[in-house]
């Protein structure tokens, strides 16, 4: 009952924030020096043609009217046309978004699962050599930018040992599965194409690893810290005092409250993951929305830039909502206690 109200409130606020984001992005897009209509038509177009296009694009009206027209067309599924690909931006997004989602999904999974595991091991063997190794590794892992990790991985695995492919989503010899979701692994599973599935997985491995490494170690650190912190709490001593066996105390009474901070920070780590995807996709030639984003940015393809930022903003918001819901599910204090006076 309370929980559903929590969800509704959370969703409502996200919609507000996304509308706010669209205003910010729209304003930034209009900061571009020069006339978009002139830029679109080229220097040799007549003044009348430029004026006509300005009118068509509502560029002759005040900025809030422009925003209104823009928002209306967005709701109609129209993000305008890309100067770079010369087709509707929506088409581009449909084509490139799934690849980025697939990559982010795998990297996120990697980050959460292995981050948690490393953190637990580190806390379990706190202040031993195992813990010290993990902590030093974590420092280095967190400090290394994803694109540098990517370069090192490409160097080590891809080019010297050729275990994992470093370019694209599928090997050239393998036919792509029919497109249902756009997620290569899922599509190949759905069509029963095991060869394509394993090939797609192999292609995913290195980019996903380079994207997840920083967040993974961040998660490990948080998990370790919160487990050690909670171990000192009264409720853990109390569980022991009630005669509950040590194994249960640790795996249940200590574990569950300790993973709450780990889950909470997933949203933040996912943000840097999506951001880094821009560089990593470029290096692995991954045909995703982020690589597309870089290309349109370098060409000042305004409509496409706005669309990419908005779409990734939505993706990020959805991930944050999911993270918040999981946290609220784990932590009754959030879902049951209403804030306010």
């Amino acid at each position: 009952m309370h929980f559903s109200r929590y969800i509704v409130r959370r969703l409502g606020y996200s919609i507000f924030v996304l509308i706010g984001l669209s205003i910010v992005v729209f304003i930034i897009a209009r900061l571009v020096p020069g006339d978009p209509a002139r830029a679109a038509l080229g220097p040799r177009a007549t003044q009348e043609a430029v004026e006509a296009l300005r009118a068509k694009l509502h560029l002759d009206k005040p900025i809030y009217v422009q925003y209104f027209f823009w928002l209306r067309s967005v709701f109609q599924g129209d993000f305008g046309e890309s100067l770079y690909t010369r087709r509707p931006v929506v088409e581009d997004i449909k084509e490139f978004l799934p690849a980025t989602l697939e990559l982010a999904l795998f990297a996120g999974l990697f980050m959460a699962v292995f981050g948690l595991l490393l953190g637990i091991v580190s806390a379990r063997y706190a202040n031993t050599w195992v813990d010290n190794c993990i902590r030093v590794l974590a420092y280095i892992g967190i400090a290394t930018p994803a694109f540098v990790v990517a370069i090192i991985l490409i160097l080590l695995f891809g080019m010297y040992y050729e275990v994992f492919p470093t370019i694209g989503r599928l090997s050239p010899g393998i036919a792509a599965p029919p497109r249902f979701t756009g997620l290569m692994t899922l599509d190949s599973l759905l069509s029963g194409n095991w060869r394509a599935f394993f090939d797609a997985l192999k292609h995913l491995f290195l980019p996903a690893l380079s994207l997840s490494l920083g967040g993974l170690f961040q998660e490990a650190r948080i998990t370790r810290a919160s487990m050690l912190e909670n171990a000192k709490r009264d409720f853990v001593s109390a569980a022991r005092a009630y005669g509950i066996p040590e194994r249960v105390v640790v795996s249940k009474y200590l574990f569950k409250p300790s993973i709450i901070p780990t889950v909470s920070i997933l949203g933040l780590d996912f943000a840097s993951l999506i951001g880094n995807a821009f560089l990593v996709e470029l290096l692995f030639n991954w045909p995703g929305l982020s690589r597309y984003g870089i290309n349109v940015m370098l060409r000042k393809d305004i409509e496409a830039i706005v669309a990419v930022v908005m779409v990734l903003g939505v993706v990020f918001t959805v991930v944050n909502i999911l993270v918040d819901l999981v946290v609220a599910y784990l932590d009754p204090r959030i879902r049951l206690v209403e804030r306010g006076e």
Binding site: Y13, F16, V17, L18, G20, L21, I23, V24, V25, I28, A29, L31, V32, Y139, I140, I142, A143, T144, P145, F147, V148, I151, I152, I154, L155, M159, Y160, A271, S272, I274, G275, N276, F278, L279, L282, L283, G293, I294, M297, L298, K300, I302, I305, V308, V309, L312, G313, F316, T317
Partner: protein, 284 residues
């Protein structure tokens, strides 16, 4: 008095060897950046220098990090690149911290008033998109150069300070010492900057140290895609990106600048954690 306090700080700080490592790394980088013209073996290679005869040489005694496609010494360029990296970190933080902290103090102190709602809603909007993406978008729309990269990073970085200080200020405003100051009749300025702010300083300083690393990293990411410092001036991100094109053969062109970025971030991270520990020990 002062000396003994400094001495005690140093004693506590130096108990964690990792913090000392961080300090040494940061000191080394700052030194190299300031004295780059004297430390770098080939200072003239930091500019538009070309010598195809020396191009693509692997690491050796004369060129410890090898040379790039134009025959420039990578080590020298790394030293000079530290300059723009550190400059970026310092300038961005100098813009972002006063703005973010002041907004956070105001919103937190005037909680549930229109000031809070306005500031925090705007903050949430800026935090609703991954920082690097917004920074990339802003820089791409403007003219790509170091100044605009700094502006772009600043635009998306202040909300982190606002949110951090907001959280602290909302709880500090309920502390009895703040209420006492109000009831005595102290000015709002006094309450915000003399009563509340000093209690946030240790957290802010810790975050600033850590953020030096992260801002430099974002700067490197921008220059990696060509939206930062423009060639021929050296920038770590640009060097990594350029080298990436010649990857297996001339690996040193991109790997060494990449490791340099890692070293900067690592140094500031270790130092920041050390400072954070120091404050929490002091306050315990």
């Amino acid at each position: 008095m002062r000396r003994t306090r400094l001495g005690r700080w140093w004693y506590k700080f130096s108990r964690n060897p990792l913090s000392v490592v961080g300090l040494v790394i940061v000191a080394f980088i700052v030194f190299c950046a300031i004295f780059a013209p004297w430390v770098a073996p080939y200072p003239e290679h930091a500019g538009p220098y070309v010598n195809y005869g020396e191009a693509n040489k692997p690491p050796s005694l004369t060129h410890p990090f090898g040379t790039d496609v134009f025959g420039r010494d990578v080590l020298s360029r790394v030293f000079f690149a530290f300059r723009s990296s550190l400059l970026m970190g310092v300038v961005v933080l100098a813009i972002v911290v006063p703005v973010g902290v002041t907004l956070g103090l105001l919103a937190g102190y005037f909680k549930e008033s229109w000031i809070d709602i306005l500031i925090m809603r705007i903050t949430d909007i800026f935090l609703s998109v991954p920082p690097l993406i917004l920074a990339l978008a802003i820089t791409s729309v403007l003219k790509p150069n170091l100044t605009n990269a700094m502006i772009a990073v600043s635009v998306m970085w202040w909300p982190w300070y606002t949110r951090l200080v907001y959280g602290m200020a909302t709880s500090l405003r309920n502390e009895y010492f703040v209420q006492s100051a109000e009831l005595i009749g102290a000015s709002k300025f006094h309450i915000l900057f003399r009563e509340i702010l000093p209690n946030c300083v240790s957290t802010i300083l810790t975050k600033m140290t850590l953020d030096m690393g992260w801002v430099i990293l974002i700067g490197a990411a921008l220059s990696f895609v060509g939206l930062g410092e423009q060639p021929p001036k050296p920038a770590l991100g640009t060097m990594v990106a350029d080298g990436a094109k010649y990857l297996p053969e001339y690996w040193w062109i991109s790997v060494f600048p990449g490791l340099a970025i890692m070293l900067i971030v690592l140094g500031f991270n270790l130092l920041g954690d050390g400072i954070g520990d120091l404050f929490s020990l002091e306050e315990a």
